[in-house]
Amino acid sequence: MSASSHQRYWNSNLKYLAVLLSVWLGVSAGLSIVFADWLDQFRLGGFKLGFWFSQQGSILTFVALIFVYVWLMNRLDRRHDVDDRREGRR
């Protein structure tokens, strides 16, 4: 893989990380802790929203973040021809 292609691959990776980790921090530190009291004025069924984020919503977000990351990276790997689809079979 050429140096510039590698650099572009890595830069895309870093961009994805910046976005995903911002969401991660925003939902955990932000919605579930710092803004939880403010969010409690809204309701989601039988839950106050801040409470729901802190006990369930954050965990669900974490799972989603990882699978979004996997999808983005698989696509990026194929685009830059560095994927490992054909490996690991013996």
Partner: protein, 568 residues
């Protein structure tokens, strides 16, 4: 058959299952002993990781702790799940591409220094050891609560089982028994949860029942009722936070980052076949973990609501059967201070005097009886608790044994030993680690629970920064990383020892730095580590060419291959 008999049967069957799996997955090479030959499929690996991660604390204590903490319980819910995002995005794929056997392997090679390797080994041993002593104790406790067997015999039996499959199969044996243990523990957790959800809210899925209306026909939401009950008794509302926001924030971050720095979790991503598998395996691990972790707060709320509705204000003579049963274990106790024969259970905001003491663990252990489930369910819960404790203990013991046989022996003290000799050393140290852990299970130092929180803070402050920087920066070098690890370690350890062991009387918010408790100080330790590592690296020579090329290589998924030895 009564509870005890059912427990013997179900626990016995589960143990037979683990032994069977262990025999089937015997390790025949160091590659199989250390990383299961890199052949574990991603979903299977995720399930094993989930069992490895969820210890006796997750299974037995967490729901109870949350039921007493209310919303603040989220420090554990988020703290023990959020780290998996960090693992998946920042560590797992790159460490898999690096393709060695242990975490100190990476630190030693990336920072081209035996000093770095040794510091990493010491951190790994300390972190894993403190954690495992608590697990063996947990095994003993489950045995004594359910089987009326002396705690010490329980620890010995647990030791025997782990010894068998860890020494025989190493990582391969441990991985496949963890899969079996996951199946046992998730079934054991969800069955009572489903039934108590039906009992309280007429909803099958506990996670949904959590936000549903009560089944008593009042049409009120469970959580609203719980808030009301709590306030009436002089407790804070269940859905409100009680601790300071900054402290909650720092504790949660320390736990999340610490998760991503724990050697026994990181090493679980060396066992898959390729980089893309490492990424998705982290996703699957979190799915399997989330099954329990989204049910836990529901169980906590159900149990708390049930407790507050049935016990306070009830005459002692009229308490439900489960109360009397668990009284004899000392997990729940009533002292009639005002002599009226009625149980007063009140919180700090009330004027009455509290007469009821409750241990957190009872919220999960007594659930089957509260939900009026058949006796075999209680036996299942015992098997589940044991599965959780043994699976975590095994993962930790493997880190301890590989730290000695691979990182200390093969890579430092005796590089010339053959593969056969190394495998023998690995088995021997695994056995030794089981015995030492068992000893501390039988004679626990008084501070086991605190020491586990310690482990997270230390992992956050020592490993996490140097691992992430080692991957994302080519400039960071050994002159920065070694002091960084040491400073992070000493700062965090010093703070914790000061407040928890030396001067516990000072351990309150006025004396803390910025109002941050010892449980949260690992976040500060991590920041200090980052600053020191990056700062010193700027002013000292960059790493050699071959190390910088290695960093380039690990950033690309293709070509991971099998984990291997590199001579020199």
């Amino acid at each position: 058959m009564n509870v005890q008999a059912w427990t013997f049967v179900i626990v016995g069957l589960s143990f037979a299952l683990y032994i069977g799996v262990a025999i089937w997955s015997k390790a025949r090479s160091t590659s199989e002993f250390y990383v299961a030959g890199n052949r574990v499929p991603a979903v299977v690996n995720g399930m094993a990781t989930a069992a490895d991660w969820m210890s006796a604390a997750s299974f037995i204590s967490m729901a109870g702790v949350i039921s007493f903490m209310g919303r603040d319980g989220s420090v554990y819910l988020m703290g023990w799940t959020g780290g998996y995002v960090l693992l998946a995005l920042l560590l797992a794929p790159y460490l898999r591409k690096f393709g060695k056997y242990t975490v100190p392997d990476f630190v030693g090679d990336r920072y081209y220094s035996q000093a770095a390797r040794v510091v990493a080994v010491v951190c790994a041993i300390f972190v894993s050891f403190t954690y495992v002593a608590g697990q063996m104790r947990g095994v003993g406790i489950v045995f004594s609560r359910f089987l009326d067997i002396d705690i010490n015999y329980g620890v010995l039996v647990g030791m025997g089982i782990v010894f068998f499959y860890a020494v025989l199969g190493g990582m391969k044996g441990i991985t496949y028994t963890q899969v079996a243990q996951y199946c046992v523990l998730i079934f054991a957790y969800l069955v009572p949860a489903i039934f108590i959800s039906l009992l309280m809210t007429d909803t099958v899925i506990p996670q949904l029942g959590f936000g549903d209306t009560l089944s008593d026909g009042s049409g009120r939401f469970l959580l609203d009722r719980l808030d009301e009950l709590s306030r009436d008794l002089g407790f804070a509302a269940y859905t409100s936070g009680q601790r300071g926001t900054l402290d909650i924030l720092f504790i949660t971050l320390a736990l999340m980052v610490g998760t991503a720095g724990l050697p026994h979790v990181i090493v679980r991503f060396y066992t898959v076949a390729r980089v893309s598998a490492a990424r998705i395996s982290a996703g699957w691990a979190l799915v399997f973990i989330a099954l329990l972790y989204t049910a836990a707060p529901a169980v906590a709320a159900f149990a708390r609501t049930n407790l507050l509705e049935t016990i306070p204000g009830t005459a002692y003579a009229d308490v439900p059967g489960w109360f009397k049963n668990w009284e004899s274990t000392g997990l729940i106790a009533f002292e009639d201070h005002n002599g009226d024969g009625i149980i007063q259970y009140v919180g700090p905001d009330s004027e009455s005097r509290n007469e009821l003491t409750i241990d957190r663990d009872i919220m999960v252990l007594a659930n089957p009886e509260i939900a009026r489930l058949p006796d075999w369910v209680a036996g299942l819960v015992a098997a589940g608790g044991l599965a959780a404790a043994l699976s975590t203990a095994a993962g930790l013991l493997l880190v301890l044994s590989t730290a000695v046989s691979h990182d200390l022996l093969k890579k430092w003290l005796r590089p010339d030993i053959s593969e056969h000799q190394e495998l023998l050393a690995a088995r021997f140290t695994a056995g030794l680690a089981v015995c030492v852990a068992g000893y501390f299970g039988i004679n626990p130092p008084g501070f086991v629970a605190e020491v586990v929180a310690f482990a997270f803070g230390l992992a956050a402050a020592s490993f996490f920064p140097v691992l992430v920087l080692g991957i994302f920066s080519k400039r960071v070098n050994k002159y920065g990383a070694v002091p960084g690890m040491l400073v992070g370690l000493c700062f965090t350890a010093g703070y914790i020892v000061y407040f928890k062991f030396l001067y516990p009387e000072l351990n309150s918010a006025e004396n803390w730095f910025l109002g941050i408790s010892p449980e949260g100080i690992g976040t500060i330790g991590m920041m200090i580590n980052f600053l020191v590592t990056v700062g010193i690296s700027r002013w000292t020579p960059p790493p050699p060419e071959d190390v910088q090329e290695m960093v380039e290589l690990i950033r690309v998924p293709r070509g991971a291959g099998e984990s291997h030895e590199i001579s020199g």
